[in-house]
Symmetry: C2
Subunit: 212 residues, 2 copies
């Protein structure tokens, strides 16, 4: 795939994947881009444009084969393969992610959690051990870990990130409320919940202002 | 504020707020748009354009007064006022959000959690009670709740949403992996963790392909 595809398109692909998965679960075998467009509340031309980035998939007069399209988008998104992950920060949020079994369907396999809190040592979450931070680098190396999830406080995120970039880790799913600096060959995907919350309060406040 | 501001701009504002908050904490009183631009890794012209949507705030040759700009963006984002919230779904994720004290600084005050699990009845999380779903509508009414956080499984999210739109709720912070349908005067802010994870695996897979 030589062509560079914009992150805006990439960001929409999981939503296609989700809708196609729901269609599959409901036994729908094929769908026109018009019908998919109504369901997803985007234009049919947007759908065609987005999918054309990856070579199309539709057939004139037939529409899309739901299973085929679902599987192809899955391959594009890399969820057809397993990726081993560790969660650093075994508090509520870390445990919530470890407990969310459905992520495994997306190829995301949690192997262990890490924490600095000695009280958590040897506890397991959904059968995965909580390990201490001294073991971090050796564990990543030995277990071919690809993804590190940062669910620790902001204050320790930078230091942890600096340790991670010296390992073979390929991606950081960052829930700490800080922007991380990493080399080009490491992917950072941020989930900044505070930012999301502020966008919510902004939009809510706007509606209040319009009403008053 | 009559002007309609794009969600792309709104999405960037919390990040300004966060950086200005960090600068304040480090005792920085004023900053040029150039210095802020380097720090935030966006162009100075982008910063000026973004802030001009709200009337500027900068002074030629002086730059920005950090505290003033921080407070003004806070007002724009609506975090200068308290907003009462409930969390529906008192599992790990719901508890993680209830326990995250820093959200209160953003005006987000959790008053109670709700669940369908009888075993959780009368438990408290960070001093907030877990209530049963029968009490939902009456509780929202009596306590002037503005925000509902959906942290329950996807399967129950739609039904819960339908109950919420018949209350005075103003905004839904939706962590359930489904797109909700609500009237125009209710704000929905989605946090679709699976979508974020798939964007991560996509980008990680791309780097692998480039290397091979």
């Amino acid at each position: 795939m030589a062509k560079l595809i914009s992150q805006a398109v990439i960001k929409r692909m999981p939503r296609y994947y989700r809708y196609l998965g729901d269609l599959l679960d409901s036994g729908v075998e094929r769908i026109s881009s018009d019908a998919l467009s109504v369901k997803m509340n985007v234009t049919a031309s947007q759908i065609r444009q987005d999918l054309n980035n990856f070579g199309g998939f539709g057939q004139q007069g037939y529409g899309y084969n739901v299973k085929y399209l679902h599987d192809e988008i899955g391959k594009i998104l890399g969820v057809d393969k397993s990726h081993k992950a560790i969660i650093i920060g075994a508090g509520n949020l870390g445990q919530a992610i470890a407990n969310y079994g459905k992520f495994e369907k997306r190829g995301f396999v949690v192997v262990a959690l890490f924490d600095v809190n000695l009280a958590m040592k040897d506890i397991t979450v959904r059968g995965k051990p909580v390990l201490m931070m001294e073991q971090l680098e050796a564990f990543i190396e030995k277990n071919d870990i690809e993804i590190a999830v940062l669910t620790m406080p902001k204050e320790r995120a930078k230091e942890t990130c600096n340790r991670l970039i010296n390992t073979k880790i390929k991606a950081i799913w960052n829930f700490a409320h800080i922007d991380l600096e990493v080399p080009n060959d490491i992917v950072v995907q941020n989930v900044h919940l505070s930012d999301s919350l502020m966008q919510l309060t902004y939009n809510m406040t706007q509606i209040d202002r319009e009403k008053s």
